[in-house]
């Protein structure tokens, strides 16, 4: 037994984390599956202290790949990093790439992850062809759009609560080279940044923005929009590319290091550096997962850890909703070291999937106890009122009342979950906190 935690290192809970190469065997009991533990909060933690979770990371075999169609089938513990390492040099990329490579296929399905191409490609689940699932009554089922469609929809974005994901079949995307052409453009404030995302996303498949959560007044939410697409294999983009392991941060930095002042300095430096960046050719890690350069960067927040907070708010009727979130951040001193803003495209079919049309904001907040809870409560009030929602893979502090207010879809999800798991055997710390499960 040891303490385990998500990527934010808050909360922590004592648990038995077992590893198994054979997920069919491991799933004979209704135990929570956990991938690489990159969800930030409590999604991969057991419902009560001392319980078991099973890490899937040793179940990492590719079971089939068809170069004609790009369709890949693999065990759920295969990591995106391994997928990139093996398939990018062969001209195939994952269809949707989240902010880190160190996630498993099963985790990507359970969280229905999104990436810089959400406006053009949707979330991960829209590229999933089939899942092999151990449902809580013990059967192993292949589920898809055409077989047990409702269970499939509940499982994509279902946070591992509808069944244990054993295998994933997903269509990879043919790409001309492993390199990308990227451009950066600075915007003076959040309104201009949101408008810039809307304009740029209409013509470029990959977009996202870094924003300075510490800027005030007329510069509120100023930011840098980064856009790009896969490069044709000419000139420098004809070079071979090789996956490299990241550097490691060998120790915890002191907990108070990332504070409003350091955050302000860091963001000003990023803004200044990016503002004059020229169009350039970059590798996939630098474009998709810049933070992966440093493994364990979460240790920079020290032992107290940090929480992520990511929400999406619709902007079609109320274009000021995003600005109001930034106003709250400044007012409540919620300096976020890395703040990401991104426009979303259409909603997918996952019953609890996060993305919906609007603008999403992701924040890294050093865990400071009650002050951080108060900030998240305040943001949640605003998000609920704006008709938005939060991303469960990032969440640690949302209250059940807020979650219910944001999720009219919850009743349908609960219904499907109850149908397949009437005794509520598959649970997590997150489902106890937000869905009212027994611990």
């Amino acid at each position: 037994m040891r303490e385990i935690h998500g990527w934010g290192r808050y909360p922590r809970v004592a648990a038995h984390e077992a590893h198994d190469e054979d997920l069919e065997r491991a799933s004979r009991e209704p135990v929570l599956f956990r991938g690489l533990g990159r969800s930030y909060g409590d999604a991969s933690l057991p419902a009560r202290a001392g319980a078991r979770v099973v890490s899937t990371t040793r179940a990492d075999r590719i079971l089939a790949f068809d170069p004609a169609t790009g369709v890949l089938r693999a065990e759920a513990g295969l990591s995106l990093a391994e997928l990139d390492r093996v398939f990018l040099p062969r001209g195939f990329a994952p269809p949707v790439v989240p902010g880190t490579e160190f996630v498993t296929l099963g985790g990507m399905v359970a969280c229905d992850v999104h990436g810089k191409n959400h406006h053009s490609a949707g979330s991960f689940a829209s590229h999933v062809r089939e899942l092999r699932l151990r449902v809580p009554d013990g059967r192993v089922l292949d589920v898809s759009e055409s077989s047990e469609a409702e269970l499939f929809a509940a499982t994509t974005g279902g946070m591992g609560l509808t069944g244990q994901i054993l295998e994933v079949e997903v269509a990879l995307k043919p790409v001309p080279s492993p390199w990308l052409r990227a451009e950066s453009r600075a915007y003076p404030n959040i309104d201009a940044l949101v408008e810039g995302l809307r304009e740029t996303s209409a013509r470029v498949p990959y977009t996202m923005a870094w924003s300075d959560s510490t800027a005030r007044g007329s510069a509120l939410g100023r930011g840098v929009l980064i856009s790009g697409d896969w490069a044709e294999p000419v000139g420098a983009a004809a070079r071979a590319w090789r996956w490299r392991a990241p550097l490691a941060l060998p120790l915890d930095l002191p907990s108070g290091l990332i504070a409003p002042l350091t955050t302000r300095v860091f963001n000003a430096a990023v803004f200044a550096a990016q503002r004059f960046a020229r169009p350039r050719l970059v590798g996939p890690r630098s474009f998709f997962h810049p933070l992966d350069v440093l493994a364990n960067w979460n240790r920079a927040y020290g032992r107290r850890g940090f929480v992520q907070y990511q929400c999406v708010v619709p902007v079609d009727r109320d274009t000021r909703a995003v600005r109001r979130l930034f106003e709250t951040l400044v007012r409540m001193d919620g300096a976020s070291l890395v703040t990401v803003v991104k426009d979303f495209g259409a909603e997918g079919r996952g019953l609890l999937s996060f993305p919906r049309p609007g603008v999403t904001v992701a924040l890294d907040l050093p865990m400071r106890g009650a002050a951080t809870q108060a900030l998240v409560d305040q943001l949640n009030d605003q998000v609920a009122e704006a008709g938005g929602r939060i991303y469960l893979a990032k969440d640690a502090l949302t209250r059940r009342e807020h979650f219910q207010a944001m999720e009219p879809r919850l009743a349908r999800f609960n219904e499907v979950r109850r149908k397949w798991d009437p005794n509520g055997r598959l649970r997590s710390a997150l489902s106890v906190r937000l869905l009212g499960d027994e611990p």
């Binding site: 590893h19 190469e21 040793r58 790949f65």
Partner: protein
């Protein structure tokens, strides 16, 4: 180049099979469970194995099957350049002392049967004009210690045999690579308390591959264990008697 891997579907064997496939080796997988063999063969094929991966049933508990399994591997691949043995079992000292049958089984599989398999591999590699036999022993075989008195005895015997094999047949073209891993996080060690310098299957397999390609006689994996075991071998006996390590 062609390699036959005994227990290449799991743990370190799986990682090494992948690295060999990426180096362009033709692969034959020997193992107990046909379904596991098929899944691993598919994995290697999808990762770009040059040729179809052969799958051959073989059980470390059934020495009568060793010769036919290696014949089948040779037949499927054309010739054998490398035979890798990661097949083994592990149990703790307390468990082994309490269960004579488990103890007999561990000694039989990790010593007698592993050596019988190596003998069959030796004959075929030499008949083909030479090749490499890479066998996973353990740092536990380097010096007797309380927690691995029995397991360590089997591994010490295996290391001793491999050492002798190298002396006897090196001139005839047989390269013997003895890999001595420390604690590695795999199914074999699941649930055990990891000691210092615990490693993962992938880097251990990479160290073994380097040893194979460079023709090293003994490979400590990860390499830090060479120094650690030199120190452990130099420890005065009274100290070792008093320590739980």
């Amino acid at each position: 180049m062609n390699a036959a891997l005994f227990a290449g579907t799991r743990g370190i064997g799986r990682a090494l099979a992948r690295q060999l496939a990426e180096c362009g080796y033709g692969i034959a997988l020997l193992g107990r469970d046909p379904n596991e063999l098929e899944r691993s063969a598919a994995d290697l094929a999808a990762r770009g194995a040059a040729r179809p991966v052969a799958t051959i049933p073989c059980d470390l508990a059934e020495p009568a099957g060793f010769a036919p399994a290696l014949d089948a591997a040779e037949h499927a691949l054309g010739r054998l350049d490398l035979v890798v043995v990661t097949a083994a079992v592990f149990a703790g000292q307390d468990e082994l002392e309490a269960d004579a049958e488990l103890c007999r089984r561990l000694l039989e599989l990790d010593f007698t049967n592993t050596i019988l398999f190596c003998e069959q591999a030796r004959v075929r590699l030499l008949a083909g004009g030479g090749g490499t036999l890479c066998v996973f022993s353990s740092v536990a075989g380097d010096r007797a210690r309380k927690p691995v008195a029995l397991y360590g005895a089997a591994k010490a015997g295996l290391s001793h045999y491999l050492d002798g094999l190298e002396l006897r047949y090196r001139a005839a073209g047989l390269r013997v690579v003895t890999v001595k891993p420390g604690f590695v996080h795999t199914a074999m060690t699941e649930g055990l308390q990891p000691p210092p310098f615990a490693s993962e299957a992938e880097p251990v397999a990479r160290a073994a591959l380097r040893g194979i390609l460079r023709g090293r006689r003994v490979v400590y994996a990860p390499p830090i264990w060479r120094g650690v075991m030199a120190a452990v071998r130099a420890l005065p006996r009274p100290l070792l008697r008093r320590s739980a390590f």
